[in-house]
Amino acid sequence: MQTQARATTRTGPAVRLEAVTKDFGTVRAVDAVDLTVHEGEFFTLLGPSGSGKTTLLRLVAGFEQPTGGRIELAGDDVTGTPPNRRDVHTVFQDYALFPQMSVEQNVAYALTVRGVRKAERLARAHEALTTVRLDGFAARRPAELSGGQRQRVALARALVDRPAVLLLDEPLGALDLALRQEMQTELKELQRTTGITFLLVTHDQDEALTMSDRIAVVRDGRIEQTGPPVEVYERPATAFVAGFVGTTNLLRGEAAVRVVGRPGTYSIRPERILLTDPAEASAREPAEGSARQSAESSAETSADGRRTVTGRITDIVHAGAHTRFTVMLPYGDRLIVHRQNLTGLPESARPDGEIGLSWDERDAFPVPS
């Protein structure tokens, strides 16, 4: 029946959720979510633990039935359809490989249950294993594989009959960093070459940012923001998104007035702040008209739209590719500054040194709180 599903002309986006709600007893895990994933897209659900990402994915796969709303796959309403009749496959976080079957049998499973002939089954299983570079491992049992290899078998198993949508629930969560980075590249590559729609769940912002075409940030069963990685990162819709996607300096109330110069809530990314000599900072020319230079503000805005401020470095941590400076401003505000480890560090960038900070005014963007 999956072949049939594929044969029908697609009449809509790969996945569409309309006002989908899911309650577990009194817990509302998913709360009136609208979501559209386009065909061929690499879409990521990003959110903290317990935000409802897995539940959303399980609703799409059909393991859970929504309490309200409707779910469409390729334009067809599948709200009541059981998992085995949906043209989607899942890569589980724990891989869920069948322990008693060989790698080959695992990968061929979707074909076996559809009654595909043995010869074709094996041919296609090997093709899928080749795609994930595991063609030599067909005869092994899952227990005889390393974590990364298992992950790839799970992938091959889900890809073998080219489902319309592939669902991935934190597929890299159990791997160590080096392997995780390697697998990220591979996954992205695979999605590109197969053209299958990927719907990925993760709580790792790096993973979401580097792999996705679009990201939906989930919080407490609701979607806070949907958009391409750059947009989500550069223009977070809420303070929560700003904080969860990347590190940020959040400034509210008085601190915002003092540092940014305006009341409200503002976010400044640590990597957007430049370290300068304090002398240089004070030498900058203030902007024309002092309306923008409020009395309480400890910072100044120069004519070229850059805002400068001086402070004292309280902590320096060498974090490999960048160094993290913690700078204490007058009035007790604290800013985190990241600086790529290149040459040309100002003299005073040492513990307890007086330092100048400057950023483009537009980099301190307001966020609804």
């Binding site: 577990f24 007893g25 859970e64 039935q65 059981p82």
Partner: protein, 281 residues
């Protein structure tokens, strides 16, 4: 995770639950109900025919005749004693098997403990009869120390019942001990606890539900036994014997007597279930 009920899963649940529950209700609970109901009937004293007139004479007699109370108490103490003896034996043995003996030895040891389950209850009881006799093995083994065997009687009953049910206690305790993460023991040692302390604070709490689970068997099997008592009990009689002697003669009275262990065990099970031990059965 158990799935939440949806229309489809509810149907499947019904299909899953119906056969076992029907069986249980029809074959077992129904039987029990019939039995307990018949406790309210009486028997023609001469013909042993059941007279279907509703009355509570049997329970009245049960509660007012001192000998029944004596027997019930004796039975209860023997069941408790057997359970305690088994727990005391099973704990060190299971501990050795699960935690001290090498990995290679575990399986053979477990096989060694389980094998006697197949040897035939009666045969084992008779073997003990021979061992506990005046000139038996036990007497012979104790003689050099100037001691006597216990002879036939309540002590012998406790010994033999404890012997018979020992595997039922070792098995769950062993399983619990084997599941106990090594990490817990390490954490305890790491925080300065010696072996005894670790046993008391970390091992025992984990083992407790398993002991309770095992005790469901040792306790209830002892509570109802009457053959072993016949074989090694000397002149001891337990609830099981009284029920057995009444059953052919006066079924209603036997039914009333049966209510005693039923009540005891249901209470016991309820208590054990509270401790979460039914899951470790």
């Amino acid at each position: 995770m158990p799935a939440a009920p949806t229309p489809g899963s509810r149907l499947r649940l019904t299909a899953l639950l119906a056969p076992p529950l029907l069986w249980l209700t029809l074959a077992y609970l129904g039987s029990l109900a019939i039995l307990l109901l018949s406790a309210f009937w009486t028997t023609d004293s001469f013909t042993s025919d059941v007279v279907h007139t509703w009355n509570t004479d049997n329970f009245h007699e049960l509660l007012t005749t001192p000998v029944y109370r004596t027997i019930a108490l004796r039975t209860l103490s023997i069941a408790v004693a057997v359970t305690v003896v088994d727990a005391l034996l099973a704990l060190p043995m299971a501990f050795f098997m699960a935690r001290v003996a090498g990995r290679r030895w575990r399986r053979p040891l477990l096989v060694a403990v389980l094998t006697p389950l197949w040897a035939g209850y009666l045969v084992k009881a008779y073997a003990w009869r021979v061992m506990l006799g005046e000139n038996g093995v036990v007497g012979a083994a104790l003689a050099p120390f100037g001691l006597h065997g216990p002879g036939y009687g309540t002590t012998a009953v406790v010994i033999v019942l404890a012997y018979l049910w020992l595997p039922y206690m070792i098995l769950p305790v062993y399983a619990a001990l084997e599941r106990l993460p090594e990490r817990m023991l390490e954490a305890s040692a790491d925080l300065g606890a010696g072996a005894w302390r670790t046993l008391r604070s970390v091992v025992l709490p984990v083992v407790r539900p398993a002991v309770l689970a095992g005790s469901v068997f040792t306790f209830s099997l002892s509570l109802g036994d009457y053959l072993t008592v016949q074989i090694v009990g000397g002149k001891t009689q337990l609830l099981g014997n009284v029920i057995a002697s009444q059953v052919t003669l006066d079924l209603p009275m036997a039914a009333a007597l049966s209510a005693v262990p039923v009540v005891l065990i249901v209470c016991y099970l309820a208590a054990v279930r509270r401790a979460g031990a039914l899951d470790s059965l």
